[in-house]
């Protein structure tokens, strides 16, 4: 069973947001990393890039295919997880510990459009 963490917000495209004040840590869920297989490359934006909710902000690549990452919320990138440059497989080891980007959210009300842990778990079970 894939791990789903309470208190995070989840998108239908299997990204999560962990909120800390004005900031959101964004990554892919355990369900997603398991479906993708071994991650060999993470294509990340730069600090100061703008991300738009529902728009593509990067990609996660396995041997077989590239999967676009869709931003669950809008904002400005304040940090990218540089550890993923050399060790992209960290996402497989712990998808929640190893977030991909940290953004300063521009509109926290967008979180209302996302699922909570219970809803996401039900969504994955379909």
């Amino acid at each position: 069973m894939a791990k789903v963490i309470e208190g995070l917000y989840y998108s239908e495209s299997h990204e999560y947001v962990r909120v800390e004040g004005e900031y959101g840590f964004i990554g892919i869920t355990d369900y997603a990393q398991n479906a993708l297989g071994a991650v060999v490359y993470v294509d990340m934006p730069e600090v100061d890039d703008e991300v738009e909710a529902g728009e593509e902000f990067g990609a996660v690549e396995s041997t077989k295919a590239a999967s676009d990452l869709m931003a669950p919320v809008s904002g400005t990138v304040v940090e990218v997880n540089e550890a993923l440059d050399d060790q992209p497989e960290l996402i497989n080891q712990d998808a929640y510990e190893n977030w991909i980007i940290k953004v300063e959210m521009s509109d926290k009300s967008e979180l209302d459009n996302l699922m909570d842990a219970v809803a996401y778990e039900a969504f994955c079970a379909k």
């Binding site: 071994a38 060999v40 490359y41 294509d43 396995s62 041997t63 077989k64 676009d68």
Partner: protein, 384 residues
């Protein structure tokens, strides 16, 4: 649509389909067949199993066409770019069938089983197209042409331990087989001969493969293939799917029809002139291919190595250093055996020289790379 038409469009299954499902394989449609992409492991694991030990592939989706009769050799030499005259029985040649304009119909293996007795192995995705084309070319030849694709299953056992495994698990002596030779032997179980359809009346084994490792391919009736598969799996051989089949062949520079060869990509463009025997008096496409060889072609297939880890994939655009499009990626991966982001690409000939600086567009960014040889990893064939 009539039921018959619907049935014809249905995705086909090999004789090992049930086994793939029971092993939890992730299935994918390829060439009109429902095939295993990978088993309960990862593409990386299966890839490394083949490079370091041994792996087992169901390749029963491949097609087989037999050519027999008085004009068999003449016919094969008419449709094939390589030269089958003077082949000893038991020898195998790789080459292409081409259209008059030099475009590729398919790449294939031609097995000579005896005088005027040839066994052609063609790509699954092209079976219907090849069969129709081959029949059209048969006018005026005294031959018996048969599409035996549904009759045979096929296994590939690949890796440095494959000879040991075939000899001990399948009880088939094969140390006498050199690279690109074959033999027909009785099936281990006489009831698995396969009936009258199976003109092999036995099991055909060749020292061939599509991975760059030493290995064997086995063709036999469905029952015999199932028995061999079960024995190999019970002995602990790693089953391998199409995922690693592609990463393995790509690393050693082997083409895949549909990507590196097509009706628009000739064997000359793909750098495969070694398999075109121009001193044969005639074969379909000879004039066009000779012209391409002597005058050059507008585009050529090259290898490109990126300086970063970003992965170039099929269809991505190749640019020159001024940002102008000069070609497309045909196949690309981050290689599992050499840990580099590399691809094969069809580019304008002006940029095809080894060492040329190019760039590849990967989603929103452009990554620099260099033109390199298409073989990214050295093959380990047993050639003597």
């Amino acid at each position: 649509m009539a039921i018959k038409q619907i049935l014809e469009k249905r995705v086909k299954r090999t004789c090992l389909y049930d086994r793939h499902l029971s092993m939890g394989a992730m299935m994918v449609e390829f060439g009109g067949f429902d095939m295993p992409l990978l088993y309960q492991s990862s593409i990386n694991q299966e890839h490394h199993a083949v490079r370091e030990h041994v792996g087992l592939f169901d390749v029963s989706h491949m097609g087989e066409v037999t050519v027999r009769g008085r004009d068999a050799e003449r016919y094969v030499n008419h449709i094939f770019t390589n030269d089958v005259s003077n082949m000893p029985a038991g020898k195998i040649l790789y080459g292409m069938m081409c259209y008059e304009n030099g475009g590729t119909v398919d790449d294939l293996l031609v097995y000579k089983l005896g005088d005027n007795d040839f066994f052609l192995v063609i790509n699954a995705a092209n079976i219907d197209k090849d069969w129709a084309w081959m029949q059209e070319q048969a006018a005026g030849f005294d031959i018996e042409l048969k599409n035996e694709s549904d009759v045979y299953g096929q296994l590939a056992i690949q890796g440095p331990e494959s000879e040991h495994i075939v000899e001990t698990v399948l009880d088939i002596p094969c140390s006498d087989l050199v690279f690109y030779t074959c033999k027909v032997i009785p099936t281990p179980n006489p009831s698995h001969m396969g009936g009258e359809d199976n003109y092999l009346q036995g099991l055909l084994i060749s020292r061939t493969g599509y991975t760059g490792e030493d290995g064997f391919e086995i063709y036999a009736s469905h029952d015999c293939i199932r028995e061999c598969w079960d024995k190999l799996i019970d002995a602990g051989v790693q089953p391998c799917g199409l995922g690693c089949r592609d990463t393995l062949r790509f690393e050693v520079g082997l083409p895949l029809y549909g990507d590196e060869l097509s009706e628009n990509i000739s064997p000359v463009m793909a750098g495969l002139t070694m398999f075109i025997k121009f001193d044969k008096p005639e074969f379909i496409g000879r004039e066009a291919l000779l012209k391409q060889k002597t005058e050059g072609t507008a585009r050529k297939l090259v290898g490109i190595e990126l300086h970063d880890k970003a992965i170039p994939r099929h269809g991505y655009t190749v640019l020159n250093m001024d940002g102008e499009p000069i070609g497309e990626v045909t196949t690309g991966y981050h290689t599992l055996s050499t840990d580099k982001s590399v691809c094969m690409a069809l580019v304008d000939t002006a940029y095809a020289a080894l060492g040329t600086d190019v760039q590849i567009q990967i989603r929103k960014k452009v990554f620099p790379g260099t033109v390199v040889k298409k073989q990214f990893y050295n093959k380990s064939y047993k050639k003597n």
